[in-house]
């Protein structure tokens, strides 16, 4: 088992270094990649046929229904995040965690309606071509698209190419938006003041997330049609459902937050790392399964239509990567930690999901499994590495969303000959260079003005009593000795 894990690690190291192309990899992997393109070609062919045939009104309804189902699924991910974060932290901070997750959904949706949607999808309204655009405040049907199918006729189809309506588009993307802040919530848990955290969320979700999102999904400079062809090549940057655009953006915010805040009291004492146990493994497990369920919408909905072959194919790569993430982290945890650690394996499952998100539509079956295995294995090692560096992330958000988000994005270039590792790396770096400093500045300004961290006394007593004046498990005896 040990050699197996070592092989995996060696492979992941090779891939992280970024300059490695498919043909230079281990010969097995090379063959897989070479034979791996048949499926993707077929999928593209099917899509083209459908477009030539034109989308019928019936198909429009079917497509839109699937997109609305995806909205429901992405919505339930917020419950998943809430329970994961609750499970991995102490009972005395539960009300605070749940409160933050509740507020984030509201902040995400409302700011997205006010500014975010039009900042992320500026259409033709660019101030700086491909970099910054804004199509105005608020949401509403664009000109020429009528609310009713009957009156609008073809115009209703043209908005989303027959895949979805304007309203579906808004809500689907709006459900994504809050995710970036939710990722930060877990990392800074158990020590951040509620008010300043919510201010951060508003700024990050309203401005930073849609601004950088427009570079790819809004048709900006990282796309083939963008204005910086020399930089992104003929292939463009590929991030199917947001390994970089959503997960690494959240991850960079999380990293900035925990660096400014510092570790929780009692985590690193006199050079020794002390575990601070999460209080509910059942809640953690429920959360991870909810997130996996939600990912069917996150990735499946990112097909942007109910195109049968591609949508079902994406669900397959997504699930296989999640399963492989479990296996990869299980093998690593069992080898490195002596005991198989459930919390690590569930992190590994999420790591596999984040990893496949960038390439779920273009990688083949075996590469999808490899991506899951590697991300799962890396997740365990990365959590331990962050602890070694005394960077205290209670839920492993930086590992799952940042490290594996970056890995997943690079893997698109490695496993799909359609795309280049260099372009993928360019995109990853561009997001890091903007998101990390932006988050850092917001956190530092908050720290210097209103203060970011609760008092020592409050941290010991718990944020439930300190911030909210109520308990989460009233009537239960809980050993709050930590």
């Amino acid at each position: 088992m040990k050699t197996h894990v070592i092989k995996l690690l060696a492979l992941s190291l090779l891939l992280i270094s970024g300059g490695v192309f498919a043909q230079e990899l281990d010969s097995t992997v090379g063959t897989i990649v070479a034979s791996g393109n048949g499926m993707v070609d077929t999928v593209t062919a099917v899509v083209e046929t459908a477009e030539e045939a034109g989308t019928s009104a019936e198909m429009f309804r079917v497509n839109n229904t699937w997109m609305m189902v995806s909205i429901f699924l992405v919505f339930i991910m917020h419950l998943g995040f809430a329970t994961v974060e609750t499970g991995l932290t102490r009972a005395k901070n539960t009300v605070n965690i749940l409160f933050k997750n509740t507020a984030i959904v509201a902040i995400g949706l409302l700011t997205y309606a006010l500014i975010g949607f039009n900042l992320m999808y500026p259409g033709e309204s660019w101030f700086l071509k491909g970099i910054l655009g804004f199509a105005g405040f608020g949401i509403g049907l664009p000109e020429g698209v009528d609310a009713t199918m009957a009156e609008a006729g073809a115009a209703a189809f043209t908005y989303g190419g027959g895949g979805y309506t304007y309203w579906t588009d808004f809500l689907f993307q709006g459900m994504f938006a809050a995710t970036a802040a939710t990722i930060v919530s877990g990392a800074v848990a158990e020590r951040i003041k509620l008010g300043p955290f919510l201010i951060f969320c508003v700024l990050y979700v309203m401005l930073v997330y849609p601004f950088v999102g427009s570079w790819v999904w809004g048709g900006g400079w990282l796309t083939v049609g963008g204005n910086l062809k020399g930089l992104v090549g003929e292939k463009g940057f590929h991030d199917f459902a947001g390994s970089t655009l959503v997960h690494s953006v959240g991850g960079w915010g999380a990293l900035a937050g925990i660096l400014v805040l510092g570790p929780r009291m009692g985590k690193y004492v006199g050079g020794i790392t002390r575990p601070i146990m999460g209080h509910s493994m059942p809640l953690l497990t429920i959360g991870v399964f909810l997130l996996w369920l939600g990912w069917f919408g996150f990735n499946g909905g990112s097909v942007l239509s109910a195109e049968p072959v591609l949508a079902s194919y994406v669900l397959v790569t997504t699930s296989l990567a999640a399963a492989a993430g479990i296996v990869g982290s299980m093998l690593t945890s069992w080898t490195v930690q002596k005991h198989p650690d459930l919390s690590m394996v569930l992190n590994g499952c999420l790591a596999g999901l984040v990893g496949i998100t960038a390439g779920a539509d273009v990688v083949n079956i075996i590469p999808a499994i490899l991506i899951g295995l590697i991300c799962g294995a890396v997740a365990v090692l990365s959590v331990m590495a962050f602890d070694r560096l005394k960077i205290d992330d209670p839920v492993g958000a930086t590992t799952v969303h940042l490290v594996c988000g970056i890995l997943g994005t690079l893997f698109v270039g490695v496993f799909s000959p359609e795309f280049s590792v260099i372009t993928q790396l360019t995109g990853v770096l561009a997001y890091g260079v903007v998101c990390f400093p932006a988050a850092l500045i917001i956190f530092l300004v908050l720290k210097l003005t209103v203060g970011l961290r609760v008092s020592e006394e409050e941290e010991l007593k718990g944020l439930d009593l300190g911030e909210h004046g109520m308990e989460s498990y009233h009537g239960f005896q809980i050993f709050t000795a930590q």
């Binding site: 009692g266 004046g469 109520m470 000795a481």
Partner: protein, 113 residues
């Protein structure tokens, strides 16, 4: 032989244990306790209604020691638990009639040490 019973703030337990270890006192029992002292409690609110919570969470630490360890134990508990604020807790010291280790049948001072 004395039985030392200390009620301390839950969040000070780690520090108390650390202080005891430094004085080479390794045997203790800890239980959850609810108590009411000079601290009087705090206010919580639930669905808009305020409520007074006057039974506060404490931990009860019990340590049985031989006479020559009594002062060291008391010092260690104080060192770990004291913050200088109301609510730091109390230490009770009582005589201990006997002590029997179940496994070996040892009694008295041998059983404690």
């Amino acid at each position: 032989m004395k039985l030392i019973i200390a009620y301390v703030q839950p969040e000070r337990l780690t520090a108390v244990k650390q202080a005891l270890y430094e004085k080479e006192i390794f045997k203790l029992s800890v239980t959850n306790a609810l108590g009411c002292g000079q601290q009087r409690g705090y206010r919580e609110s639930y669905r808009g209604v305020a409520m007074e919570v006057n039974l506060l969470k404490k931990v009860r630490v019990e340590i049985a020691v031989n006479d020559d360890f009594v002062q060291a134990t008391i010092d260690a508990v104080i060192a770990g638990a004291r913050t200088g604020k109301i609510g730091d807790g109390k230490i009770f010291v009582t005589d201990l009639a006997d002590c029997i280790r179940i496994r070996t049948g040892e009694t008295g001072e041998d059983a404690i040490g």
